[in-house]
Symmetry: C2
Subunit: 67 residues, 2 copies
DNA sequence: AAATAAAGTAAAGCATACTTTACTTTCGAA
DNA sequence: TTCGAAAGTAAAGTATGCTTTACTTTATTT
């Protein structure tokens, strides 16, 4: 699964810190998500999508081969 | 967070077993999700939503007060 | 009413999301 | 070119999603 968090964050000119605060997680979590170290939980995915004003499916790219 | 898994599953006349197999998790996982014991991961949420042919946001009800 | 399928509970164990702390690297401005 | 902000790495610890096994309860069908 890929995501467009960094892309959208930069488009909105927001720092990792600001995003982390806005959705109530640590900056580490944002870094790890952006760098593909793990996947967001459903709740976090929803919060970030909402923050960017998009649907979860627009923010996360579910490559259909994945299991 | 609430979800409409049981509701949609019954509407489609599918058993917990069939759904579990279709999205590749154990039956326990479906039971626990339906009974609100925990939240689905993003990947699982996507698979179930896809199985039912709806968007994640239609299947999961994110009550905005939650944290 | 008896048999079978479907749904549920319980609990131990593993995998992964997320936190915290501390330190390093990159980058844009003064 | 240096200084500070932003981004990144590493690693140990906690929380939670998911599995597995085994047994119980509720529905449905015959």
């Amino acid at each position: 699964m890929q995501n467009r968090i960094q892309e959208m964050r930069k488009a909105m000119r927001v720092t990792q810190n600001e995003l982390a605060d806005a959705v109530n997680v640590s900056r580490q979590t944002i870094i790890s998500l952006e760098n593909g170290r793990y996947n967001a939980s459903l709740v976090l995915a929803h919060k970030i999508a909402k923050y960017f004003g998009v649907a979860i499916e627009e923010l996360f790219v579910f490559d259909e081969e994945e299991e």
